[in-house]
Amino acid sequence: MSATTSTSTSATVQKWKPPKLVLGNPSFHDVTDQISGIVERRDTPIWWWVALGISVSMAGAFFIQMAWLFWTGVGIWGNNVPVGWGWPIVNFVFWVGIGHAGTLISAVLFLLRQKWRTSINRFAEAMTIFAVICAGIFPGIHVGRIWVAYWMFPIPNQMAMWPNFRSALMWDVFAVGTYFTASLLFWYTGLVPDWATLRDRAKGWPKKIYGFLALGWRSGNSQWKHYEAAYLLLAGIATPLVLSVHSVVSTDFATSMVFGWHTTIFPPYFVAGAIFSGFGMVMTLGILARLVYPPVKNYITVKTLELMAKVIMLTGMMVGYAYSMEMFIAWYSGNGYEQFVFLNRAFGPYAWAYWIMVSCNVIIPQLFWFKKLRTSIPVLFVASIFVNIGMWFERFVIVLTLHRDFLPSSWDMFKPTAFDIGFLVGSFGLFFTLFLLFLRFVPMVAMAEVKGVMPEADPHHESYHHATEKEA
């Protein structure tokens, strides 16, 4: 969805106005002031301390539970045979999915010249990194012998052991690892000019820290040239990762022989779902940022949110299509085992989870057909929460496919324990801790990039517009 199409339908070029991506007509200096001000202010707001206190407690509980897990064993969760993977893997896939929006917004939308991305890309990327950190913890700690989890990596060793490259878990290690590295580099590259801005405004020891972080950025022409090239390259590198990470994560399931997992639809369906959930989380966070930092409203505009709502609606429908196609293929395959699995999802003991998933992921996004709803902040906020609940349940439904597989004799129920819930809550604690620290200490909107999409950055006569020509 191009930012211009909504307005370019008007009759003549003369009447065309550049899209208002930033509200309130701030000058470049205002932008710098407003965004840097959040980082620079000395009086940390009370709400931040409260929120951080809650988040840190949750994160602390996360790590204490982890210590108990390491001490006793993975039996503290509800996992059993047949459900060998339980909530840890649900959480892993959930967080990896959340992590998708960042790369999509930064890389893909960048390549597609979607300028509205600039206001949200910084914190979307941050969110990606934090989500991938949360995601990465789960497969690591869910193994039975945590102290040898590094055997998953192909490290030459005296034991002459080598991982099994046929295993999708092996691919996972690489996919998630690559994704995290690329996202981090991409994020940091984008941050460099903004660190320099902060450095230039700071005094005393913060200046030294920002100076260190700015890597000697002087805003010179050649630096900008290299920066633009590097950013483009990184965007190019990151773009296939948007598709690859969740495709590979989906192969954890799709390459197995478990009915309900063993389907070719998984990679695209997982990617769509990931974008869906990622946008949901960006929207949640964006709305919260608007709430706590009113100046941010100028950058994360209702227009931006509306566009995101459209992406959510689109990917929601893709996910819905996948759900129905899974059902259709199960019926069409003529395979009783596969048919059973899908009927069991919809009508078995975990049907409630399936219908939560369908309601949240397929039905709720349909609200966005109505402009009134997709521009209403409360509606968007509630809907985005539902999207995330729905996507968590999607992964729950998928993992819980295990509970009834081939031999009915081994069918069993999975019951989460307090630790299962504790780890999920704890991972949110970690995520929000990191995110709050980010809000406080890192410019949450990419100042340099935002300036690039403001009218001032395009000093032409109103009737002639390079950018418009390119886009048209």
Partner: protein, 1042 residues
Amino acid sequence: MPSLTNGNGSRPLYWRSEEQLKDSDRFRHWLDHEFPEVEEEANGDNPLKSSVSRRSFLGVMGASMALAGFTGCRKPVEKIVPYVTDPEYRVQGVPRFFATAQPRGTAPLSILVETHQGRPTKVEGNELHPSSGGGVDSFGLASVLDLYDPDRSKYPTQRGARRSMDEFIEFWRELHTGFIETGGEGLAILSETFASPSLWRLREKMRRDLPNARWVAYEPVNTENRDRGLERATGKKVQPVYRYDRAEVVVSIDNDFILSEPDAVRHNGEFGRGRKLTGPDDSMNRLYVVESAMSVTGGKADHRLRLQSHQIGAFLISLTIELEKQGLTIPGSGVIAGRAGEKFETEFAGAIAEDLYRHRGKALVTVGLRQPPAVHALALAINTALGNNGRTVLYREYEDTLPSSLDDLKTLAEDMRGGKVNTLVVFGGDPVYNAPADVRFAPAFAKVENRIHFGGLVNATARASHWHVSRSHFMEAWGDVRATNGILSIIQPQIAPLYDTRGDVEFANLIITGLDTSSYELVRETWFDSLLHGDKERSWQIALHDGLLESSRDNEGGPVVVDGGEVAFLLRHTSLHAQPITDGSYEVVFIPSGTVHDGRYANNAWLVELPDPVTKNTWGNTAVMSTKTAEKLGVGSGDVVAIELNGRTVQLPAYVQPGHADQSITIELGWGQSELGRVAKDSIGVDVYPLRTSETMGFARGATVARTGGYVDLPNTQDHGAMEGRAIVREATMETYKHDTKFAQHMVHVPNLDSLWKEHTYQEGYQWGMAIDLNACTNCNACVTACQSENNIPVVGKDRVRVGREMHWMRMDRYYVGDVEEARVANQPMMCQHCEMAPCEQVCPVNATVHDSEGLNVMTYNRCIGTRYCSNNCPYKVRRFNFFNFTNEFPDSVKMAQNPDVTVRSRGVMEKCTFCLQRINLAKQKAKAEGRTVEDGDFQTACQQACPPNAIVFGNINDPNSEVSKLRKNTRAYGVLEEFNTRPRVLYLAGVLNPNPKLKPVAVEVEPHGTGHGGGHGENGHSGGLDTGHAEPTDAHGDAGH
């Protein structure tokens, strides 16, 4: 202990420490308890976590061994301590097997015990002895765990205080002196049932030396109904010796002969082997079962009739009437003629009668111990009329056997109340817990002046006694037994007593003579005096080696003469009800537990966690009822019901059992002994003995049952009983089999599937494989316990069973087939299938599970990091995960029961069946040393060894002459889920049912395609996989077309 003082008693002359010099309390304590920390550890009363560390345990054991030499000063040396210098023939690390026997009331079981460095670790069947026939059951297998039970009585106690055995002996001698004077006036021994020449000899001695004393026996699960019926009908005290191997038609009248009745191992083997089929022209036996609860035997039936237990006797009358219609004259049946109005289920009875008549002399009607004496007598009459008496069932007079007698128990209790018994020696057993409620044993017992209990565990009787004398495990002392068929065996100790205990024979001798003579001397005395002939020492040695005395084989029993008048008398005086209960009350049936029997194994963790073969419940008992009854009561499995009978109530969770008789509740005996030990304490079982009276030992009428509103999460290992139309357990009737010998392969289409990888060809060396004959398999569970014992499989506890974390590598899958009300059981032993295209191997990220060059799917524990991906991808779900450090939770003594040849798994790793790799390797080493290759018979896997009917066969598939190769070529062979290209190395031989064509057809889960009428399944449905030589479809379609 006094301190070492000088002559005038003030200060020590020589002192060991300052403390002694000061004569401090601490030093005195130290002197009294020389090894206080050891004592504390040995008494460790923390039930779940024994405080004995491995190191200190080994230390104590080492010290005990070292001190063992000094025992020679006190008692004669019997060389059963571990060797100091190895004899030449003994190889370290190679287990040795010794024959012995497990005493079990009237029907002991001959076994071999595997020992490692003098430490018994596993029980196996003794092929030479008919009571075992090479097989063994879970009770026998788990007995080795009892030996190491940390809750065992380790020393005698007097009113709960620790005493030494010498102190008890001293106490007893004092009493005994008095008894010698009075001829044993006021002395009574209440023992368990035994069949032992030595104990019998001692009992005879008592009758001579202490004529006024008495020795009676009581067992809660006893043969009394049968004994009384047979004694009345024959005038002799006889017991039947069934020969299921000779029977072509078996009619079980409430007789669970496969699992819970005496001599079950032998019956199981003989019956199961009688169902083996080499081809469609071979014949197999046919089994009719009439019962109320679904038993293992009922699950194996070709035709099963569910009746309330009290109707079952009447059914036999109905059958008698039908048999007479065939022209048979049944002794004593005259009385039945007048009761013709009672005949019912005539169609079923008629078909059986015809079948029985056709198979005269090759048929067998057996009656379960719950049924009243008259039914047993009538069955004897029927068997006699059919010419089975002396052929398929032999009778043998009780010899060296003291069967249980309720009358004796009642008299004893009466005398106890009347003060006529001043000393009661409870010789094993637990009458306070399990005596019929109306005997009111406990209050009577409390009146006895000297109450002595002899037992291996501190049970209810022990707690109610003054003295509790610790009993040696049968693997710790000498003894002897006589099997039902008269064969004599010596109980040979496998290890020196671990604690301050006495064996059965030693204790009996002590009580009777006041002398603490060793069991070795006592047993040898019995045998050398009267049982051995010729070169006695040599015969003794051979009997020890073989596990039986060859010369005692010659009299396994014969026919008996039936007095029809007496049968008629019994029938006339027994009320048998043809009518089901209609007044809304319920029938309660008391059955021995399939896992803890009458309660004696309630502290045996292997058995307590062993899933019941039919209900799959563990860790407790339930009120088992039919679906209709459950509906009527408004309960589901787990809902607690209150059962009230004769003013007494018990509450226990319901379990809904397909195929159960309506309006009847079956409850297992033996549970609810929470004070027995740490395992029993953890059980959710309920003691139901309070409902049982001497009149209703088998079943009772007139109970009221109501829902209480409570709920218990049952630790059940199999939630789902339906096969969902999947061809997992493949079965067909004999008729289908004859028509289509490859029926099993026609149930599923196996396409031609290839491998992504280069496949191993196994052109040379070994290639292991297994074949399991589902027809011979009787669902007895022995393999499950055998596997547990062999492979150090941990017990996880009820809470972990509830969440699905049981660790059994081998499990018995149980499915119900057909209508819920009239369900049939289809069972299948399931363990790692060692798939050639193993799904687990593909997905392990660290190569921890791989294929070896002999076709085994091997698990490298050290490499496993525990992703559990393999388990997810295993379609058979046979992988087991160590969610915690289960092995570490074992009490130290239990660690002694572990097989040193099998790695103990730590937390966080996956484990599964290895096909007993350690046994394969031992056999390979042996063969290599002898310069040959491994052949059939060199070794058996643990499950194969235990299996009484030899349903499991393992061996080298590369050897075309091996049994397993032949079986895998059987037309009934199929692989479970083979359509998914897993290529399992375990092939199952599909079950064949042998229904009576006169009766309504039995249900099977999946019909073979291609032979059914109108079968639209084309040839392409049978093109690949195992079924390459397929030619029938055209014929089949020809049939279908016309």
